[in-house]
């Protein structure tokens, strides 16, 4: 999973296109490819750093794996999952936009490439600013939620 984070994922785009074809499935897959590894790594790290007493308590109470996951594991790693959501929010957007830039007939990524091609800089800047405002406000909102839950 760490390897997947380190690999420049744009190099995997031709493989994604061969697997999913042109259009929405490819750009969704590319977005998932960007966001999923980070969430998985942060969640796995949080699970490994969970206090051993929780696992011992679960064993003592003879909890099923499902109950252990739902009642102890997930609540225990919830702060890290929310933190990973902030990163996933940005990375997934990046993946979807890059996917649209190369092989999509619709979307802001496609429009961005089209505008660059015809030297329509006002439209390019308009898209950049809108994405900046969306990503920025989303990140701030998630941080506020995380801070409130951590209190």
């Amino acid at each position: 999973m760490h390897v997947l984070v380190a690999v420049p994922k744009v190099t995997l785009y031709p493989i994604i296109l061969l697997l999913f074809g042109l259009g929405d499935p490819a750009k969704i897959a590319f977005g998932v490819l960007h966001g999923l590894p980070t969430v998985a790594i942060m969640t796995a790290g949080a699970v490994r750093s969970l206090k051993p007493i929780y696992r011992k308590a679960a064993l003592t109470m003879r909890l099923t794996p499902r109950r252990y996951a739902l009642r102890i594991l997930l609540p225990g790693v919830a702060p890290e999952i929310l933190a990973s959501l902030r990163i996933c929010f940005a990375f997934t957007l990046l993946g979807v936009l890059i996917g649209e830039m190369f092989a999509s007939a619709h979307g802001l990524g496609h429009l961005l490439m089209q505008s660059i091609g015809v030297d329509d800089m006002p439209t390019v800047m308009a898209i950049v600013i809108l994405l900046f405002l969306f990503a920025g406000s989303g990140s701030v909102a998630l941080l506020a939620v995380i801070n409130r839950l951590n209190k």
Binding site: I28, F89, L130
Partner: protein, 85 residues
């Protein structure tokens, strides 16, 4: 030292004004053809948001993004719980 919400808002406003001023200065320096100025960009945003094609593109990106985000989060948490345990 904890800052009050009003102080934080003032900080954000000051930083935003600084960024916009810097953007305007850069636009004047390198030319509006390369870097449109803030008022030009604001005008273009307002015009674009009234165009059906632009709204269609925003919707297309938004739909793909929401689906990708949900899959990434659910898949990532599931894999993380499996690999971490």
């Amino acid at each position: 030292m904890k800052r009050s919400p009003v102080q934080r808002l003032a900080d954000i406003a000051a930083l935003s004004l600084l960024l916009i001023a810097g953007w305007e200065a850069l636009s004047l320096l390198i030319g509006v053809r390369v870097l449109p100025s803030p008022p030009q960009t604001a005008q273009r945003i307002v015009a674009a948001l009234t165009q059906p094609d632009f709204l269609r593109d925003i919707t297309a990106t938004g739909q793909a993004y929401v689906i990708a985000l949900v899959i990434a989060m659910l898949g990532g948490v599931t894999l993380g719980l499996l690999f971490g345990g």
